[in-house]
Amino acid sequence: MVVDELGETVVDEVFHALADATRRDIFRRSAESELSVSRLSEAYPMSFAAVQKHVAVLERAGLVTKTRRGRERLVRADPRAVELARRALDELETAWRGRVERMSELLAELPNPQEKHTTKGEER
């Protein structure tokens, strides 16, 4: 219930945007280089309009930006989005590595009720 409330208050555009395999692929490609929508649409078995729709979803989520150059529309991943994800996941990694390490130490420290497993407590 709490989750539902939150789901409505926080914008879940990113998750929606990345829930689709084609959009994830577009996002990945556009992170590597700037690509036009027409170039992108050659890569998928779907219409130009369909690819354009996918790009629009990514754009709404703030994952890519679109710029016009001549007759072309160029798509590029927002480097800020990628960088943010990287930093957030790094922090999460640090937190969980610490927890796992403490769990491991605690297991070595706590008496084992059934002595059927010989725990090598000091192994690291």
Binding site: V2, V3, E5, L6, G7, T9, V10, V11, D12, E13, V14, F15, L18, R24, F27, R28, A61, G62, A81, V82, L84, A85, R86, R87, A88, L89, D90, E91, L92, E93, T94, A95, W96, R97, G98, R99, V100, E101, R102, M103, S104, L106, L107, A108, L110, N112, H117, T119, K120, E123, R124
Partner: protein
């Protein structure tokens, strides 16, 4: 090291790690299921956790606070979505106000824990996912300076051990 694999998925904003423990599944489960044991590893160094309410059945809640070095007591909650002792636990983890009630405009994470027997010990597969990019940004704003310093200190201690 006990962490044997780690994967970060930037698309789904999910961290998945696999750790191995030299103890049977039931004992690793106890680290989650026994609030006194959970208190000893949940909080980062310098922030011991106190579990005020702890019910790991589906729909159950955990309410806790941590006590910081300056006497500050950040609070948090879990809401258990799935529990299959001693092998699986899934919950959402968020921030709470001073009365222990969930703060609805603060980030929430989804955590999944799977324990299985592996070569006489236990393999723990854990994933943590941010629910949105906005949540992720908020976590970053809050955690940045202090959290990182603590983590680095902790890593130093481990490397020296």
């Amino acid at each position: 090291m006990t962490v044997t694999s780690l994967d970060k998925d930037f698309d789904s904003l999910t961290l998945t790690l696999i750790a191995e423990f030299d103890a049977p599944v039931e004992r690793v489960w106890e680290l989650w299921a026994d609030p006194r044991k959970l208190e000893r590893w949940w909080g980062p160094p310098g922030f011991p956790a106190t579990m005020e309410e702890h019910d790991l059945s589906p729909g159950g809640r955990v309410r806790y606070h941590m006590t910081g070095p300056e006497g500050e007591t950040p609070r948090g909650w879990w809401e258990v979505t799935t529990a299959d002792p001693p092998n699986y636990l899934e919950f959402t983890d968020g921030f709470a106000d001073d009365d222990g009630n969930p703060v609805t405009d603060m980030p929430v994470m989804t955590v999944r824990v799977r324990l299985s027997e592996h070569e006489g010990g236990t393999r723990m597969e854990l994933s943590g996912a941010f629910q949105s990019r906005e949540d992720m940004e908020k976590i970053l704003e809050m955690g940045a300076a202090e959290g990182l310093q603590q983590a680095v200190g902790q890593m130093d201690a481990l490397l020296a051990a």
